[in-house]
């Protein structure tokens, strides 16, 4: 009787965790922005890890498996938000490097050339040719600040 109840509980938790993990992957694949993808993957992914670990705890039979599953659950709960936070900061820095560092953006504000949008649009792809991530963000910021340019 108890084993049947535990089996049903384990089945429900495992299926719910799998559905949550699939929702996380769908969000990572379908959402348009980097930060939106971050939000989908972190929240649904943490929920999926918790549900799958709880389902495995309901399905496990010996004490060693319980201890290891508790360790996995606590470790994932401690580390997934931290890594997502640092990754979101890196994504923001990569998206618009001018906005997040105040000491480097203040000379840009006093510089009359940087306040000219045509000059900044010309400068960003030119300097971005040196390294590949800056080339991508440079074309993205140029396309965002001036809509008639191509979206490639």
């Amino acid at each position: 009787m108890t084993e049947t109840v535990l089996g049903v509980v384990a089945l429900v938790f495992l299926v719910l965790g799998t559905v949550s993990l699939l929702i996380a992957a769908w969000g990572v694949l379908a959402l348009p922005d980097a930060l939106a993808r971050q939000h989908a993957a972190t929240k649904a992914g943490t929920l999926a890890a918790a549900l799958i670990t709880l389902g495995a705890m309901a399905a496990a039979v010996d004490a060693g498996s319980w201890v290891r599953l508790v360790v996995i659950l606590l470790f994932l709960f401690a580390t997934l938000p931290v890594s997502s936070h640092m990754l979101a900061r890196a994504a923001l820095q990569e998206q618009n490097p001018d906005a997040s560092s105040p000491d480097a953006s203040s000379p840009d504000a006093s510089n009359p050339d940087a306040s000219n949008p045509d000059a900044s649009n010309d400068d960003v792809p030119l300097a971005g040719g040196e390294s590949s991530p800056n080339a991508r963000t440079g074309t993205r910021s140029a396309a965002r600040s001036s809509p008639p340019t191509s979206m490639s």
Partner: protein
């Protein structure tokens, strides 16, 4: 009954890994790729847990602990690398801006 749950979890984790690979290939920025790698490692932990339930061996749970550790350290490292690369690129942008403004406007 628990075999059905294990089967669903295994197939779902493999599908999630495939979707993560698609995002790793497509992803426009490096942060997207690292995020997809993080999701990939969560799916790997889920697959290891499914293997532990399916076979009844505790060794796969040790594999899951190792994967979780590796994913955390790897994600932190990649995030710091992207952060520093973006800052360094912006400093290079400032340097080229200064050089262009000094050379172009005498």
């Amino acid at each position: 009954m628990i075999e059905f749950g294990t089967l669903v979890l295994g197939i779902g984790a493999i599908v999630v890994a495939a979707l993560g690979v698609i995002r790793i290939v497509k992803g426009p920025t490096s942060a997207d790729r690292v995020l997809a790698l993080d999701l990939f490692l969560t799916a790997a932990v889920a697959l290891a847990i499914a293997a532990a339930i399916g076979t009844g061996r505790t060794v796969f749970l040790d594999v899951a602990i190792g994967l979780a550790l590796l994913g955390f350290v790897g994600t932190i490292g990649w995030a710091r690398l992207i952060d520093r690369a973006a800052q360094r690129g912006q400093q290079a942008d400032d340097a080229t801006d200064d050089a262009a403004s000094k050379g172009g406007r005498p």
